[in-house]
Amino acid sequence: MISDAVVELSRWQFAVTSLYHFLFVPLTIGLSVLLAIMESTYVLTGREIYKDMTLFWGKLFGINFALGVTTGLTMEFQFGMNWSYFSHYVGDVFGAPLAIEGLMAFFMESTFVGLFFFGWDKLTKGQHLTITWLVALGSNLSALWILVANGWMQNPVGAEFNYETMRMEVTSFGALIFNPAAQVKFVHTVAAGYTTASAFVLGISAYYMLKGRDSAFSQRSYTIAAGFGLASVLAVIVLGDESGYTDGEVQKAKLAAIEAEWHTEEPPAAFTVIGIPDQEAMVTHHAIKIPWVLGLIGTRSIDTPIIGLTEILDNNRVHIRNGIKAYGLLQQLREGDRDEVLIAEFESVKKDLGYGLLLKQYTEKVVDATDEQIELAVKNSIPQVAPLFWTFRVMVACGFIMLIVFVIAVVASSIRKCRKDWILKLSLYTIPLPWIACETGWFVAEFGRQPWTIAEVLPTFLSASSLTEWDIILSLSGYIFLYTIFLLIEMYLMMKYIKQGPSSLHRRRYHFEIDERG
């Protein structure tokens, strides 16, 4: 019997390690592109200052990149270590994009990043620029394949259960790669990375400008970050996540949970701006609603209803009953019965097998599940609403604040008169926002898929390895302890270099190295 505590601890460990990893990844993705843009400007104009910009922001990139690599090691290995049933059950499908990521992207990024740092004197300008772009391409392609894998967890297309091997197997790679959930996620996430890097460069440049240091250097950095950031944050918001909502039952449950849409409303549904969701009573207290908006965003029409959670629960009850049947038939198949009628019958209900597996959390004998156990499974077949409701609003709020900041920053960077101190301070204090948005965004995507690891296919409860509680308590405390120390060291080093600014390059032409005349 699987213990609830082991599953909970495994989930915590996955959340902690991924959220740590995701502190560094967006900056790597975005900064690699910004570096390539800066270096391109250097090669095109031949002006040394752009090379210095590439070198300086490249140093900060390196400090961040090291921790991205470190925490990334865990990611590749913990599926097998902590989620061994998941690995067995979906490795045939989920493993493929991860392997392709390695061959196509990670190798390229990591091999060339050494050349980026140490190859300046060994390569021609053009060669080095190509390398920088390849590093950027590598980190972006890397995101593509990871999100193909993650998109499949949200919307598992192009695969089918095989009773002989007791796992999911690929039926169409095309469907896997062109999974709409994956494509949308990719654009959304990569653009979020660009926004993160832009806010980072914008804020730090604003800090130098406030201090009146290295004005040529900081103004150019500020301008590039403002322009690139505005375009990126627009892409994040406009392309958004919304089209993902229309795929699959689970994405519908996620949408309904995010919006605390307890019952299907007369279309077009109203959008709940804020309120206090109450899952037991299935109402939102003190809700402030804007009519029509949710219907328009969620369905892009005025007459298609957005399915509410009550109706989703009713559907899930049917799926679960069907799933019990599928599980029963599977037992006969696993015992070696290969009767054609049996196989045909199983094939007709196997799409609900995952719902049958949901019962494993409440009983070993799925086929003999009592009505109470079924009702318990139904009740827990949707995610908890309140955490999703809030994190989603935090993410969106961060996005819109950043949009405003970048609009102001673009104005300030193009019109000298507008370059007021309060704008620079605003730019500086915006730095944490993209990280908050990225972390809450990850939470919404993953927590919103619960109780599944693979939507409608494999419950989270079953996915974990058969380890003991103490195994995971030990590993989890190890991760938290080490990662926290690493993060503190990284922040310390980052602050140190940010304070030194471009003088850390020792080019003898920056603040702290010369008497500046302002």
């Binding site: 390196g62 400090i63 990149f65 090291a66 921790l67 470190t70 090691l73 590749e76 290995f77 599926f79 097998g80 270590m81 061994s84 049933y85 690995s87 067995h88 979906v90 490795g91 045939d92 499908v93 493993g95 493929a96 991860l98 392997a99 392709i100 990521e101 390695g102 061959l103 990670f106 190798f107 390229m108 990591s110 091999t111 060339f112 050494g114 050349l115 740092f117 140490f118 190859g119 060994k122 095989n162 091997t165 796992r167 197997e169 690929v170 039926t171 790679f173 079953l462 390895s465 058969s466 380890l467 195994d471 590993s475 190890g478 080490l482 060291i489 080093l493 140190k496 850390s504 390059l505």
Partner: protein
């Protein structure tokens, strides 16, 4: 496009996995060896920086071979990935925790001038290289012995071992082999990349660690004749769906030498480990480190292949539920996945090798103390 049947693709993927592991052992291997040697061959801060920068621009790419082996295992051998990683939980955890120290050690060490900061990162780099080099071997030793796991209802993997069992004498011996072969390899690499004192110390290390590797390897070879090996006793269906509980397996001392009995030509593999080792020492002594490096690569590849040839077709034998053992014929991905990944690999693996060699070409030549002084602020 499908040009191979399931059986052939399974053998090819067994080969690819081997190629990736060997790829890691000979590229990431010398990085680890260099890390192990760091405190012993580098007496001053500048000497240590020479040692670190000899692998500075390339360790990052080399490490991907390690990550890639994990990724390929996941995609092509999902059940193997699931069983080995969850069973060797603490071995892997220890490796990961130690390996964390490497990117940080390399990148952060020389970013501040304080001696205490640098000394601590040097220690971290040593631990980050020593522990993985040892644990890789321990993990392989456990594969050879068999892992105590079995499949429950719904194919859930249950592991019955403990950390103490992982650290059994035979596996520790294999651990020492991998530690000493990576150190040998790192020493040869340092002989290529350095001059003067460090170079002299490197030559001495090549000698010590090559001899140690060969002696330990011979010991393990003797031990394996009495160690329990595994053998499939039921009919084999190499094209059947991957179901690892549909066969019968027996366990007996000495069975790991079975394949060598059937195909005596295989003896060339362990023999080439010894030949390679001897040539490594000789060439290193005659100051031909480039050629010595080729032979230390051959030594490492042969040692790994020796284990692989003994075990084929087994990948992870189960020591408590023999019939649950994972083999080449019953633990791979589906035909469709193996085929797609085959094409991806055929395209990208040569490409990776080409650009990796180019990067090495760009950074060819010695790393010297003068070079470190000149680039004080940009180098590791």
């Amino acid at each position: 496009m499908m040009i191979f049947d399931y059986e052939t693709l399974r053998i090819i993927w067994w080969g690819f996995l081997g190629a990736l592991i060997i790829g890691f052992a000979i590229t990431g291997g010398f990085d680890l060896g260099v890390g192990v040697l760091l405190p012993f061959l580098g007496k001053t801060d500048e000497e240590r920086r020479v040692i670190l920068n000899s692998v500075g621009p390339t360790w990052e790419g080399n490490q991907v071979w390690f990550v890639m082996s994990g990724g390929a295992l996941f995609a092509a051998w999902p059940t193997v990935y699931a069983v080995s990683f969850s069973s060797l939980y603490f071995a892997l955890l220890l490796t990961l925790f130690a390996m964390f120290l490497r990117p940080l050690g390399f990148d952060y060490r020389s970013k501040l001038p304080k001696p205490l900061w640098r000394e601590n990162w040097d220690r971290a780099l040593f631990v980050g290289s020593f522990v993985p080099a040892l644990v890789f071997g321990i993990a392989f030793g456990n594969l050879l012995k068999g892992i105590p796991f079995h499949f429950e209802t719904d194919m859930r993997i249950v592991y019955f071992g403990s950390l103490r069992e992982l650290l059994n004498p035979f596996s520790l011996l294999v651990g020492l082999i991998s530690l000493s072969m990576f150190t040998m390899h790192g020493a040869v690499y340092l002989q290529i990349k350095t001059i003067g004192d460090i170079n002299k110390r490197a030559v001495r290390s090549v000698m010590i660690f090559t001899i140690l590797t060969l002696v330990l390897f011979a010991l393990a070879g003797g031990w394996i004749t009495t160690l329990d090996g595994y053998h499939i006793t039921s009919e084999i269906f190499p094209n059947a769906a991957s179901n690892p509980i549909a066969k019968f397996v027996k366990k007996e001392p000495g069975l790991w030498l079975d394949n060598y009995g059937h195909l005596p030509g295989l003896w060339a593999v362990p023999a080439s480990a010894f030949m390679g080792g001897i040539l490594t020492i000789v060439l290193s002594m005659f100051n031909r480190p480039g050629s010595a490096f080729i032979f230390s690569c051959i030594t490492i590849a042969s040692i790994i292949l020796t284990a692989a040839c003994s075990m084929f077709p087994f990948i992870i034998p189960s020591s408590i539920s023999l019939n649950s053992s994972l083999t080449v014929w019953d633990s791979s991905s589906s035909l469709r996945t193996l085929n797609l990944l085959f094409w991806i690999t055929v395209i990208f693996l040569p490409l990776i090798m080409i650009y990796t060699s180019w990067v090495y070409r760009v950074f060819r030549g010695k790393v010297t103390i003068e070079h470190i002084r000149k680039n004080n602020h940009t180098l590791y």
